[in-house]
């Protein structure tokens, strides 16, 4: 992705200013400054997001779409303005294509359940990659079981890149959908989704992209990649918990039957016959997470002000530094060596299990994650039980990476 290398990473002053926007980064953990390197699990939130949510409850709180009174009007406008912000962020064609959910996992479940139940027939094939998070595996297993469709798996090569040509062998007229992560949460692999989508479309298959890790790490453009479905979580994009987005191309969404039933998603209800509302409301049953959605808008505007290309460049610099530093340690092995990698580095150290590594790093204030990262099939494929994973955000620094490396000394002290 050559245009990105032209973008300069942050200056020290810029980075300091960014860090100051995030209250949690001032925390002391175990008497040390917090080095938060668990951003792939969830990101910290800028004050603008925290304050927007509180301000909503203090001065704008009401239910949406249902009332004519002042607060209800304000809340509805704020909620729908946030939808427009998301539309622009994704460069979707229409607000009708933006469905709010409770998270990326629900977004994928919605597609598997609604689209899948209607369009999958016995013997139809669903292609997943070996890199997928459980949230992009289990919903497909559930709908495969229900419909008689079959899962096929796109394997990886020794670098943890998708196997070249692997898709050629898998795609056939039986392939109805390909569900693929944009950036792999276990390895940081950036998948070539634009090419994959073009190839799948040529073969007549739809494509769902799991953007949980990508949304905070790289600019997104639905027109450019031409995805049918794109799923993401606000909480991994500096936004609140309990908010997700599902983008669906309008012509596809129009054909989908309702997922959950309830208030707001109907046009008329009678016990004999219920008719459903227009897009996207047909897919938003019940009171949504209004305050969360309103605050999420601030998160999007925050990363847009900085620029996702600059965030990408910053994280790339950190990631390259972390990979180099880790690989320089003779007893450390980084997992995968993908051609394009974003913000995530997993590793193993000979003397200690990832859980013990994470506990010891925690003792010096360095927060990393250990375990299978909801990537059990990938772990099995790699013949390991888990890894220790550092994942970066807009606010991380080289010093924090150095503290991680320093912490490995302590691991060795205890375990060697």
């Amino acid at each position: 992705m050559p245009h990105r290398s032209l973008v300069a990473p942050f200056s020290d002053t810029e980075l300091e200013a960014i860090r100051a926007d995030f209250p949690a980064l001032g925390l002391k953990v175990r008497g040390q400054n917090l080095a938060y390197l668990d951003n792939a699990a969830t990101t910290q939130k800028p004050a603008a997001v925290i304050e927007a949510e509180a301000a909503f409850y203090r001065t704008q709180n009401a239910n949406v779409h249902r009332g004519v009174h002042y607060l209800s009007q304000i809340a509805t406008e704020l909620f729908e303005d946030a939808r427009e912000t998301v539309r622009r962020f994704l460069n979707a064609k229409s607000r009708r294509e933006i469905v709010f959910t409770k998270g990326c996992t629900e977004s994928i479940n919605l597609v598997a359940h609604s689209w899948g139940a209607k369009f999958l027939k016995p013997g139809d094939e669903i292609v997943l990659s070996q890199l997928e998070h459980h949230s992009n595996i289990v919903p497909w297993q559930l709908i495969a079981e229900r419909t008689g469709a079959v899962l096929r798996v796109w394997d990886i090569d020794e670098n943890c890149d998708l196997m070249q040509g692997g898709l050629d062998e898998l795609l056939s007229e039986r392939t109805k959908i390909v569900a693929l992560t944009h950036i792999a949460n276990g390895t940081g692999t950036i998948n070539p989704i634009k090419q994959v989508i073009a190839q799948c479309h040529a073969a007549g298959a739809k494509v769902l992209i799991d953007g949980a890790q990508a949304a905070a790490r790289t600019p997104l453009d639905m027109q450019l990649i031409d995805a049918d479905f794109y799923a993401l979580s606000a909480h991994k994009l500096y936004g609140p918990t309990g908010v997700g987005v599902l983008y669906v191309r309008e012509s596809v969404l129009e054909q989908m039957p309702p997922y959950q039933g309830g208030g707001d998603m109907i046009r008329t209800v009678s016990f004999d016959r219920t008719t459903y509302n227009d897009l996207p409301y047909r897919f938003e049953a019940g009171t949504p997470n209004v305050a969360g959605v309103v605050a999420f808008r601030q998160a999007i505007e925050y990363v847009q002000r900085i620029g996702l290309d600059r965030i990408f460049a910053h994280e790339k610099e950190l990631t390259d530094f972390a990979v180099q530093s880790l690989n320089a340690e003779p007893d450390v092995k980084t997992i995968g060596n993908p051609k394009n990698r974003a913000g995530i580095v997993a590793f193993l150290i000979e003397c200690a299990h990832p859980h013990d590594v994470a506990t010891i790093l925690d003792s010096i204030g360095v927060a990393v994650r250990s375990g299978h990262h909801c990537n059990m099939p990938l772990m099995k494929r790699l013949g390991i039980n888990g890894t220790t994973r550092a994942s970066f955000g807009v606010y991380n620094t080289k010093t924090e990476v150095e503290r991680l490396i320093e912490g490995l000394k302590k691991v060795r002290e205890i375990f060697q």
């Binding site: 779409h65 249902r66 004519v68 009007q73 009708r96 046009r267 008329t268 227009d278």
Partner: protein, 152 residues
């Protein structure tokens, strides 16, 4: 403007008059275009019947259960479109829609401009546009059901 002023702008005399005494209310046996419109927010409903002959809206009737704004809007619309060509009616809708969603010149809208006060009440804009969305459906997809949700 004070909110008190905005309120009396919303409920102008002509609106109240048309809501209490809707013109062209009723059923139309000669109708060759028909559509039903719903406002899912409140359950308001309108059934619109048109007789279109040689591209002209020769006659129009409607049955509506709704608030003052939606009934008055249907009534005012029925008066405005009767005898007009389909193209003229569609142009009228575009102008009407512009009036409610942005600042625009209302001079060409005649009596319809009585509904411009709705602009200050975003949650009521749907009430004013329901009849027009239904008209659009009747002209383009006869025997359709539409909602106003896309105005949200």
């Amino acid at each position: 403007m004070t909110f008190e002023g905005e309120l009396s702008d919303l409920y102008q005399q002509v609106i109240l008059d048309h809501s209490k005494h809707p013109r062209n209310a009723g059923s139309l046996d000669s109708a060759n275009r028909r559509a039903v419109g719903h406002n899912p927010l409140c359950g308001d409903q309108i059934v619109l019947m048109l007789e279109v002959k040689d591209g002209v809206i020769a006659d129009v009737k409607f049955q509506s259960s709704g608030c003052a704004i939606s009934v008055a809007s249907a009534s005012l619309m029925s008066e405005a479109i009767k005898g007009k060509t389909v193209q003229e009616a569609e142009l009228m809708f575009r102008k009407f829609h512009e009036m409610l969603t942005g600042a625009c010149d209302t001079s060409s809208l005649g009596k319809l401009s009585a509904l411009s006060g709705t602009r200050e009440f975003p949650m009521r804009v749907k009430c004013a546009t329901l009849a027009w969305h239904t008209l659009e459906a009747a002209l383009n997809n006869p025997n359709q059901t539409v909602t106003t949700e896309s105005d949200a």
